[in-house]
Symmetry: C2
Amino acid sequence: MADGADNPMSPTRIHHINFVVNDLEEAMPRFERSLGVNPFEVIEHRPRGARVARTRIGQSWLVLVCPYDPVSVPGRHLAKHGEGFFLLSLGYDDIVKQLEKLESSGVQVTDREPRDGILDWRIADIGDVHGAFIQLTQEETPEGSDQ
Amino acid sequence: MADGADNPMSPTRIHHINFVVNDLEEAMPRFERSLGVNPFEVIEHRPRGARVARTRIGQSWLVLVCPYDPVSVPGRHLAKHGEGFFLLSLGYDDIVKQLEKLESSGVQVTDREPRDGILDWRIADIGDVHGAFIQLTQEETPEGSDQ
């Protein structure tokens, strides 16, 4: 699965996909039943003004984001667009190098430096690409481990 | 990575994520540059009234859908919502069994039987789950292979 081996800028995996929801306690069992995913783990994510729940699917995480702060980024997204897709985050071995490469090739990014996500995730937002909000993630845990 | 081993209903991976776009020739290089993904492969998908392009990210595919038929499902989605997220499709070893399990546990699904997707993909739509359109995919190529 070294698909990206020929391109040092390639992401290694879909790291996570985020959906914004109104009610975490209602959404988690609905996703678990409809998709057959394992039980979600709930995490407080104060910097984003949201409660977050994640469950693993292969190499990736499915993440539900439930804002309690209406002026947070996910809170404003929920108010404007309603429930549904929030962002796609791709996994890279080194997001600092990745940001440098993007910048040197003229790609405009929202976050020029990584910031903290949940747990040990380091993230940086690329921004809107044809209507899809895209983010980079680097996780300290080795890729593909079962954590 | 047998995360789903304890739950026979678990998806094995994010199989693909679809974004709908207005112009494939404009979107492909933009996604390639901004994300560092490998070049897209273009596929005609007549049953969906769209041209489709895919590129691999780890175990998953990133798929761009560009409708040429405005009354097709993706064409109507594009007209209503604009460019962006269209659907998330999860990979299962056996989607017929998966559909039976969902039905027996009372989950309402859009497609009660699989239909043909692009290439050797067999797909079935679950439908809208908290604002996110979710689909099941079974691919004939063994999981995790480089095809």
